[in-house]
Amino acid sequence: MEKIGVYVCHCGTNIAGMVDVQQVAEWAAAKLKRRGVVIGRDYKFMCSSLGQELIEKDIKELGLTRVVVAACSPHLHENTFRTACKRAGLNPYLCELVSIREQVSWVHTDKDQATAKSMAVVSGGVERVNYHAPLEPLKVPIHPDTLVVGGGIAGIQAALEIADAGYKVYLVEREPSIGGHMAQFDKTFPTLDCAACILTPKMVQAGTHPNIELLTWSEIEKVDGYVGNFSVTIRKKARYIKTEDCTGCGICWEKCPKKVVDDVFEAGMGMRKAVYTPFAQAVPKYPVIDRPNCTYFIKGTCKACEKFCPTNAIDFNQEDEIVTVNVGNIVLATGYETFDAKRIAQYGYGRLPNVVTSLEFERLCNAAGPTNGEIVLKDGKTKPKAVGIVHCVGSRDKNYNEYCSVICCMQGLKFAHLVHERTGAEVYNFYIDMRTPFKGYEEFYQRVLEEGTHFIRGKVAEINDAARTPDEEGKLIVQVEDTLVGVQMRIPLDMVILSVALEPRRDAKETAHKFGLSCSADGWFIEKHPKLDPVSTMTEGILIAGCVQGPKDIPATVAQGAAAAARALGKIHAGEIALEPFRASVIEEKCSGCRICNGLCPFNAILFHEDRMVTEINPALCQGCGTCVAACPAGAIVGTGFSNEQILAQIEGLLLLNVGEEAVPA
């Protein structure tokens, strides 16, 4: 008979406040004696070193053969207690952690009921642990290459960190150039560094790094495999440019007769050609031909680019290319999109020409943008005399997105400063709350206050052009309550900038599915732990960085890029990773060869030996879901860690309190 120790954690008052932990421990020791429990203890913090030592001491002194800890979720501390067992010489898999915090004390309100349920949960653990078997963790080698998806600042940072450490990185970007949103910005808050000045050196580094293979104008098709050994299929969209011959001289886009509105990089504010690089410092330097807009592809004639190309680098016959790469880790840094301001019709975006979005304004005040950095109205020449900046457009609003988009307050201050500096216009910031929490941000707010920007506390109700007084003629009228004085105001302005919300990519769900991740209700990717593990995901080997996890500013994005790289490097360096040894295997003597299980495995781990008429499971391919175990009519497939015996025993244990003594199995 096993000797089981039961340890009930107080977790301060987190558990002890709702569960009589002492009673649970004493009950287990007294009433579950004949089920193998030899000791029951409660302790303030089981996860503390003293708490762990308590277990270790009992293992050594009482000769415990099994340990049940009733504390928090196994996703938090399972490893802690397994390690403690291991230190005391007990196989770590002979320990069971049952949750009485997340699943009992935090969700229930009646102390008696919570205590009774805790007893049931402990009893389930005790019954289950009897059937635990000693296991060894499964070691999986880590492929040293890494895939980074998304070539914005988060992806660039992650790629550079890993490449600098000496390992190969594939950096995939769906646009023709890396750079992401940051490349579109003019200045960055709060220091007002020129975005291009600090970003382009990093882009060039990424483009020329011997350890980085750039795959721009490319998209992920399919992801197979698991941590340590992913196999990723990538579609390299046809560029119609022979990159080995192209020098990036620019003659092709000079000669191209077709002008196209640039909806991506110029946010619709400027034009590009049908053959183009999005911006002058693009990395790589090779252009792409935009097939749906190319005159040759539409009409069959033109080929101006081909005629003038000095190196014969144009190739209209190129086709998409599918490549497969093997990597050990994947960093997802696919970023964000901006909210469609047309959805808030009362703001007049799309109808009133001088209502622009924050991204459009970034291009408008960018020295390399369509107006060479001149802040002018839609007519292309008039400087605005009064400009409004509307915060929280599509953020903090239950009709659109409930979350705060984090960057808008600081972005609004930055715009206020730029407008003030370059036009001398009166600037109005319309805000609900000013949020300037990080280093140097509050100081920047102070600076903008000193510059004389008007801060109106009130969410803008509407923007229209229906003048009621001569002063309002030809102006945009912002209607808002100045909540600090309690008066409805109408403010005639020349230009209004809408600080639009950051939103998940439109295809975020699809991407998440491709990589086996999940999205929150808002659509951002879910991290493993919101505080302690923000760059990991539930799927081992897949990391996230930047706005794909939630809205954030550039410093936080860069920090996450580096953090994700550190995670990947740690695994690469270790060379292998220990996985839960939960795998299925077939007891050959019991297998009838019925083949019911054969079609069930999506990982092709099940193979059938025609000669011997038995099924076998390849442990290298098995992922441990247990579906085949559940399906086998002969009970010939066993699953470690989650065997039938373990689960059936746990069910019995959980229901122990419900049945009379006579019904308890002996």
Partner: protein, 288 residues
């Protein structure tokens, strides 16, 4: 032939009688039958909510219960009636306790409302159920060159939140285009006409009417088209008061959309109640 249960509401009895007659004339021509509810009662407008919420729902529920017996969708030409019917039906469906309480009261008149009815505004019926294409195909006298300001008002749109474009709807414009007119774009088309505010705050209400008239005239409207008796009265009957109060000179005819559709369908003016307006539409319609 498509058939609807029809709840005219108190205003259409007299004050907005031209809305009533033109609605019946145009629908007949379009092959839609409006079957008036038997012994309907006043829905309480918004005012009953000032007294008692439960009774306000009960008043409307009686009409809904009468309508439900017909098995038809119910249509209301007045926006306040429409809003009351739409939300009473929705609340009673969503809140069984409320429904039980109200149905207990309805028993006194041998009625019961189960909540299964589709409530439509007369404008929605024209612009969405019948649809601009169907109407366009039956037009004989298109209102070419007539610049019409479509005035939605409030309660046909709000407080529905499920509605896709409550801030910038387009279906009224589409209907006006279908009858050959030119719908004008003006930014106050969904703003309030003042409702019954004329009673509690005359200055506020007249200012709101002024702003609307101003905005429509600035964009060159010949006529304002309405879909609610309250809006029509405010915009038309108070034009003179607005002119006195603000020294303006507004003289914009305000017609029900059914009157305009009727004209395009070739129905004689007198059958559409044209001539009963205080601001004569004759100068605009003279050539037609």
């Amino acid at each position: 032939m498509k058939e609807y249960a029809y709840f005219p509401g108190c205003s259409l009895e007299k004050l907005a009688v031209s809305y009533h007659t033109s609605a019946l004339e145009t629908t007949r021509k379009l092959g839609v039958k409006l079957k008036e509810l038997e012994d309907w009662n006043c829905c309480g407008s918004t005012t009953y909510f000032h007294i008692d919420e439960l009774l306000a729902y009960t008043l409307t529920a009686r009409n809904l219960a009468i309508a439900e017996k017909t098995g038809l969708d119910v249509v209301a030409p007045c926006s306040a009636c429409f809003k009351n019917m739409y939300f009473t039906a929705a609340h009673m469906k969503g809140d069984p306790d409320l429904a039980e309480h109200i149905n207990f009261a309805l028993e006194e008149d041998d009625l019961h409302f189960s909540g299964d009815i589709r409530v439509r505004h007369l404008l929605e019926m024209f612009a969405q159920d019948i649809g601009p294409d169907e109407i366009k195909s039956k037009i004989t006298h298109p209102l070419e060159g007539m610049r019409i300001a479509p005035y939605y008002g409030c309660q046909i749109l709000r407080p529905r939140r499920d509605h896709e474009e409550i801030e910038n709807p387009r279906y009224f414009e589409d209907l006006l285009s279908a009858i050959g007119a030119t719908p004008i774009e003006y930014s106050l088309k969904t703003r309030c006409c003042g409702g019954s505010l004329i009673i509690s705050s005359r200055t506020a209400a007249l200012t709101m009417v002024r702003n609307l008239l101003q905005c429509a005239r600035d964009q060159g409207a010949d006529v304002i088209a309405t879909a609610c008796p309250m809006c029509q009265v405010n915009l038309e009957c108070y034009q003179q008061s607005v002119n006195q109060e603000f020294g303006t000179d507004f003289s914009i005819p305000v017609l029900y959309f059914t009157q305009l559709v009727g004209l395009a369908l070739g129905i004689p003016k007198n059958k559409l109640g044209i001539g009963k307006e205080l601001v004569s539409a004759m100068p605009v319609l003279a050539a037609r």
